[in-house]
Subunit: 422 residues, 2 copies
C-alpha cells in the first residue's frame, strides 16, 4: 500500500511553521506497513490545493491531507478536493449540532457565530471522521474506483488525535481485508549515556553495522547516543523476535551504558527508583542554574523525591547557602571536585535529604581558565555514607553543555543507586 501526503497551508510554505505533522504521519503509517512515497506542501489557494492533490491521486490513488479545515475564508481544502471528485457541497446537520453543543459547553456567550457553520459544509457523499480533540471534523472522500482522500486538520494535537482514533483503524481494517500480514517498517531505540558514538561502535564490534539483519543507526544528542534498530520488509510478528535477539546481544556488549528504551526519560527512571526505595533528593547547581531541577520537576509526582535545591551561581552563595568553605574555593576554584563535594554535602545536610547531586562547571562561551576549558564540569553524588566526585569535559555550545551536564549527573546518580549499599 502506497500513500501520498499533502500538507496544506501558506504558513508551511512560507516557512513560518515547521511541518511536524508530516513526520508524525509518516512514522505512524510506516508502523502499520503503509509507505509514504511522496510528500508535498502547497499554499492555501484552491487551484494549488486541487493541483497538488490531483497529481498525488494520479500517482497512488490514496492521499492524506492536513490543514485547511478551519472556519475562515482561507480554509479551502474541502471545496477544492470535492471539485476534483466532481462533487458538490452540503451542510451536515450533525456537525452543526456538535458545534453548537461545543459552544454551549464552553460557556461562551451568545449563539454559535455564522462563520463556524463553514466547518459544517462537507462534500456530497463523503464520510465524516469524528474530531474528539477540536471543532473541525475530518473528511473521507472516495470514488467508485476506490481512490480516496482523507482530510485531517492542521492543528497537530487534533491531527494526531484523529489519526489515532479514526483514520489509522480505518486504514488498518482495509489492509487486513487483504490476504497476508503487511510488511512493516518498525524500529526500536536503545538509549545510552556516558559513552561516545565511536566508542559504542568499537564495543559493538561486528554488531556495529547490521545486527541480525536490522539496520542500526547512531543518533547522538545531549542525552547521549540513541541506538535505533530498524526492520524493513518483515511483518510485525517477524520483526519482534529479531528485535529481542539484537537487543540482548547489544546489552551484552554495552549494557552498562543503556539506561532505557524508546522515549524513556532518565530523570523519570531515577525518580521511580528513588521513590520505590524512599530516598529523597537535594540539588546544588552552579553552571546549570536550575536546569536539573527544572528537568526533574517537569515530571508529575517528583515532589515525592525532590525536596529542593540551591542555585549557587555566585561564589558567595556557594558559601552562604551551601557552606562551601572559603579555603576550598580559594585553593581549588569554584569549578573543582572539591567544591562539588562540599556543594553536594551542603545541599544534602541543609535541605535534609537522603541524597544530593551537585554540578559546577564552565558552560561558556566565557569563563575558561588554564586547565579548565569550556565544558570542564565537576560533579558530586552524595548517597549513603559516600560522596563520589568526578569531572567530565563536555562539548557543544552553552545550551548543550548544560543539558549534557544535567544528564551526566542523573546517569551518575543512577549508577550510584545500582551499587550495593556501602
Amino acid at each position: 500500500v502506497q500513500i501520498e501526503v499533502v500538507t496544506i497551508g501558506d504558513e508551511l510554505l512560507l516557512g513560518f511553521t515547521v511541518d511536524t505533522n508530516a513526520a508524525h504521519l509518516a512514522r505512524q503509517l510506516a508502523a502499520q506497513g503503509v509507505a509514504i512515497v511522496r510528500r508535498s506542501t502547497c499554499g492555501d489557494e484552491a487551484h494549488e490545493i486541487a493541483a497538488a492533490v490531483r497529481e498525488a491521486l494520479d500517482r497512488t490513488g490514496a492521499v492524506i491531507t492536513t490543514g485547511g479545515l478551519g472556519p475562515t475564508s482561507d480554509d479551502l481544502t474541502k471545496e477544492s478536493i470535492a471539485a476534483i471528485f466532481g462533487r458538490g457541497m452540503h451542510r451536515d446537520e450533525s456537525i452543526v449540532e456538535n458545534l453548537k453543543e461545543r459552544w454551549k459547553k464552553r460557556g461562551w456567550p451568545g449563539d454559535l457565530p455564522v462563520a463556524n457553520l463553514q466547518q459544517a459544509m462537507v462534500p456530497d457523499g463523503c464520510e465524516i471522521l469524528t474530531n474528539n480533540h477540536g471543532s473541525a471534523p475530518g473528511i473521507w472522500l472516495e470514488d467508485e474506483r476506490g481512490r480516496w482522500v482523507a482530510m485531517l486538520p492542521g492543528v497537530p494535537r487534533e491531527m494526531r488525535g484523529m489519526l489515532a482514533d479514526t483514520l489509522l483503524p480505518r486504514i488498518t481494517a482495509r489492509l487486513s481485508a487483504g490476504a497476508e500480514a503487511p510488511r512493516v517498517i518498525a524500529s526500536r531505540t536503545l538509549r545510552t549515556s556516558g559513552i561516545a558514538e565511536s566508542a559504542l561502535a568499537d564495543k559493538l564490534g561486528p554488531l556495529a553495522k547490521a545486527p541480525f539483519g536490522l539496520s542500526l543507526a547512531y543518533l547522538p544528542g545531549v542525552e547521549g547516543v540513541d541506538l535505533r534498530l530498524t526492520s524493513r520488509g518483515r511483518t510485525a510478528a517477524e520483526a519482534e523476535p529479531v528485535f529481542a535477539q539484537a537487543t540482548a546481544a547489544i546489552h551484552e556488549l554495552v549494557g552498562h551504558n543503556i539506561y532505557g528504551e524508546g522515549n524513556d526519560d532518565l530523570a523519570a527512571l531515577v525518580l521511580d527508583e528513588m521513590r520505590a526505595r524512599h530516598i529523597t533528593l537535594a540539588l546544588a547547581e552552579s553552571c546549570t542554574g536550575g536546569l536539573l531541577g527544572a528537568r526533574i520537576t517537569a515530571i508529575p509526582g517528583s515532589s515525592d523525591v525532590l525536596l529542593g535545591g540551591v542555585v549557587a551561581y555566585a561564589n558567595a552563595v556557594k558559601r552562604s547557602m551551601l557552606g562551601v568553605r572559603e579555603a576550598t574555593l580559594a585553593t581549588f576554584g569554584a569549578v573543582s571536585e572539591e567544591t562539588a563535594r562540599e556543594m553536594a554535602l551542603g545541599a544534602r545536610e541543609r535541605i535534609g535529604a537522603d541524597a544530593a547531586l551537585s554540578i559546577t562547571g564552565v558552560a561558556g562561551p566565557g569563563g575558561a581558565t588554564p586547565g579548565k576549558p569550556v565544558g570542564h564540569t565537576c560533579f558530586g553524588v552524595a548517597l549513603g555514607g559516600d560522596v563520589h566526585t568526578f569531572t567530565m569535559n563536555l562539548y557543544g555550545d552553552r545550551a548543550e553543555i548544560r543539558e549534557r551536564a544535567a544528564q551526566a549527573a542523573l546517569f551518575a546518580l543512577r549508577r550510584a543507586l545500582a551499587k550495593p549499599a556501602s
Copy 2:
C-alpha cells in the same frame, strides 16, 4: 520568480527526521522576493528523485534540492538530476584536491578513502557551489532554456551556510538583472505578554485585522501572544515605512504589553536592564522547580545579575532555606500571595541580592484544592522597599503552566523596574 523545493531522503519521508531545511529555505527566499510555490519530499531512490525533480522543473523551471550529496551509495541526487538534463558525469579534480586537503588538515590517518571520491563526481557542464561548512560541494545545473536546479546538502548547518554564502547571492543577482526591485514577503513581529489574544484584538479595535494594509496574525504561545505583521507585494523599501506606521499605531494601543520585537527574549531584556542599573537578583521557585533559573542562566553573562536561588519544592525547604513562617503556610497555604511574599523576601535577604522573584503554584495535573485549581499561581516581586504580589490562573498542561509562570514572573519584574523608584 517562482521556485519549487524538493527535499530528498528516506529519513525525511519515514518521519525519523523533521524537515527543518524546508522552512529555513522558504523564509530566506521569501525575504528576497522569491516565492516557493510547492515543496515535495521524496525518498533516496534514483527514479523517485528524477520524477519529483522533473515534475517540479516542468511547473516552474527553477528547483532547489536538499540532500543526497554525501559519499555513500544512498546519495544519488547528482546522477538522477544529471539524467533529467541528459548529461553525463565526470570527476572534478578541484573537488578531489579540496577533499584531500580537508582530510590532511584534520589529521586523520592514511589517505582519503575511495568512497569519498564519489563526492567529486559532478554532472557535465555544471557549476560548483563551494561548501565552506562541510565536504559535499553543491551543484548548479542549468540548460539552454535557462531552467535550473540547485543542489544543496541535507545537513542543516551545511545547507544554511551554502545558501547564505553562495546560492542566495546568485539568485539575488539574477533578480537584480531584471529592471525593478523585487516584491518581497517581509514580516515583523511584536512580542506581548500579560494579555490574552481576544483582549489584544479588542484593544486593537479597527487595527485588529489588517493595519495599514499589512496582514496581522496572532501567535499565542507560552511566552505570550506574538503579533506578526506581514507585507506582501511591496518592495523592501516600500514595506519599511508601512511597518513603522503600523508598529507605532499598535504601540499606542497596547504598548504596555509589548516587551520586544522579533526573537527578543524577555529574560535577556530584563537582565540587560538590571545589569545597566547594577541591580542583583535572587530567585525562590516552588512549582517551576528551577525553570526560571535555568532560563535566566541560559544567557551568557547572566552571572553579572543573578546571584542564585532556592528551589523550595517541599514546605520544609520553604521554611528552612527561605524562612517562610510555619503560621503563614498553615493559615494561607503554600500556594498563596502571603507565602510568595515571604519566599521573595527570604531569598533576597539570605542570598544578599537587591531584588527577588518568587513563584508558587499548582502546576498540575494533581494538587488542585478548592479555590486553587491547576494553574493557580502566586508571584512575589521584591524590589526596592516594595514587595508586590499577585495571582494568575494559568492554563495549559504542566509544562505550559510552568513556562507561562516563568514568563509572567519576568514580565512582572520588568514592569516593576519600569516604575519610578518608591
